[in-house]
């Protein structure tokens, strides 16, 4: 049986895991920002009075939620590379295209989780009592004023528990950006498992780093929920 310190010694490769963790958090936050924007737009489309917007929103959430993230990641990355290459070769010459992995990862994860955020925001908007909107209209507020003063502030509050879950799922899903070569935590651990000859230790330490991130997120989520429901009495 190996002694514990020896078991956990990564022979100087440990800092690479930390660097990977930083990229994981980075791509996670960037993708979350994209998904919040897409989610808000998607929810507005799904609740729009225009039929084609509702249809577009529904197709977006239906398709994205029905296909594995890994497959979408591969489609955008490899498909995008081939498409760009073909488009650029129109302007003459043989050009090799390399899509930036961080950008591609952010776009795909943002696009996928935007579909889930759409459903969360839609539910939040629907949960606002109609009476408040009627009241806004009775005060002669314009639709824009009703949206920014009545709907939006409350939708945020109602969406926070769902968005907290979304963030936790997204954070873990960043691990699949490793297939397109982004050196985040999963890819880094995959890279150093051989030179250290300690694959279990490597992946176990990586999983502890993920666990630390999710535990911290969970804590922040609880605080955010408390903050968002300040001034609201739960009877």
């Amino acid at each position: 049986m190996m002694a514990l310190p020896q078991f956990f010694d990564l022979q100087g490769y440990g800092h690479l895991l930390m660097e990977g963790a930083a990229i994981t958090v980075g791509v996670g936050i960037a993708a979350m920002a994209v998904s919040l924007v897409l989610g808000m737009l998607g929810a507005l489309a799904r609740l729009s009075e225009r039929r084609w917007l509702r249809r577009t929103g529904a197709v977006y959430t239906t398709v994205v939620r029905g296909v594995p993230e890994l497959v979408l990641m591969l489609i955008v990355y490899y498909g995008g590379t081939v498409l760009l290459q073909k488009l650029l070769s129109l302007s003459g010459g043989d050009i090799r295209v390399d899509i930036d992995a961080f950008l591609a990862g952010t776009i795909v994860l943002g696009f996928v989780y935007g579909a889930y955020a759409t459903e969360i925001f839609r539910g939040a908007f629907l949960a606002i009592p109609q009476g408040q909107i009627d009241a806004g209209q009775a005060y002669a507020m314009s639709p824009g004023q009703i949206f920014f003063r009545i709907k939006l502030p409350q939708a945020w509050r109602l969406a926070i528990p769902g968005l907290g879950n979304l963030w936790l799922t997204l954070l873990k899903a960043t691990s699949i950006t490793s297939v397109i070569g982004l050196t985040e935590l999963a890819r880094q651990s995959d890279l150093i498992k051989s030179p250290t000859h300690k694959p279990f230790t490597t992946f176990f330490l990586a999983s502890l780093l993920y666990l630390a991130m999710t535990a911290l997120s969970d804590l922040l989520r609880l605080r955010a929920e408390r903050w968002a429901s300040a001034g609201f009495r739960r009877s």
Binding site: P68, V71, L74, I75, G79, K86, P199, F200, S207, T214
Partner: protein, 243 residues
């Protein structure tokens, strides 16, 4: 020049992709079954008032729900080789195999989520129903079997449906450890033909159909779970699944 989609390639790849589809469905069903077998007793035990029983189960679900499935898969597929005793054991032929590692990792992962779903549902069974059963003289076991679990099943069903969809889609990770599921087969075809669009879009459509077919099947079953209420109009109005 953009030439559009090569339908012939899609057509000629179908038999190969169908083979991968079988593996995908097989992995999904075995994972779901393994998950239920593990999660049912552990989910009940999770609600135990004894900390010595519920705490270890909490630790297990916390780890598996707090880390990515891909890392769990790598931990088993690549990680176990670090232990010499394991490499020398009779289990090694199984633990070295990508397919088995997927089954183990996916099952442990879905069991963790399912345990929390089951435990949450059990906690939400109305107390009055359980008290009524005890007042009728049912033992703790009988109450669990005839009252608590059937009611919990109806409560947990929507959440569990989502979990099944999650498992179905996660099986695509099997392609990361050399397993030839549908995604794995697709990646091999693409490496050979370098036409990512045709093949990836084809499998995306198949996953889409699988997802919504599963959803439809589970909704049907959920409807079936409420059959005893269906003749009462007021009860029907109270149950979202029947509306």
């Amino acid at each position: 020049m953009w030439n559009g989609i090569d339908f012939e390639l899609v057509y000629t790849s179908l038999p190969e992709l169908a083979g991968g589809l079988v593996t995908t469905i097989q992995l999904t069903i075995l994972t779901i079954l393994g998950g239920i077998v593990l999660a049912l007793p552990l989910g009940i035990a999770r609600t135990s008032p004894l900390k010595s029983v519920s705490l270890p189960i909490w630790a297990y679900t916390y780890f598996f729900r707090g880390t990515p499935m891909l890392i769990q898969l790598f931990l088993i597929y690549y990680g176990l080789a670090q232990f010499k005793t394991l490499r020398a054991s009779f289990l090694w032929p199984i633990l070295r195999d990508g397919y088995w590692c997927c089954l183990i990792a996916f099952t442990l992962n879905t069991a963790a989520y399912t345990i929390e779903i089951i435990a949450g549902a059990i906690r939400n069974v109305p107390h009055t129903d359980i008290e009524a059963a005890r007042a009728m003289g049912m033992s703790a076991m009988t109450t669990m079997r005839r009252i608590t679990l059937p009611i919990a099943l109806r409560i947990l069903f929507p959440a569990y449906t989502n979990e099944v969809i999650f498992v179905l889609q996660s099986t695509s990770l099997a392609s990361m450890v050399t397993v030839l599921d549908m995604t794995g087969v697709a990646r091999i075809i693409i490496a050979r033909t370098f036409s990512p669009y045709e093949i990836f879009i084809t499998i995306a459509v198949v996953y889409l159909m699988l997802t919504y077919a599963t959803l439809w099947l589970f909704r049907r079953f959920e409807f079936h779970l409420y059959r005893h209420l269906r003749s009462h109009a007021s009860a029907v109005a109270a149950v979202p699944a029947l509306r």
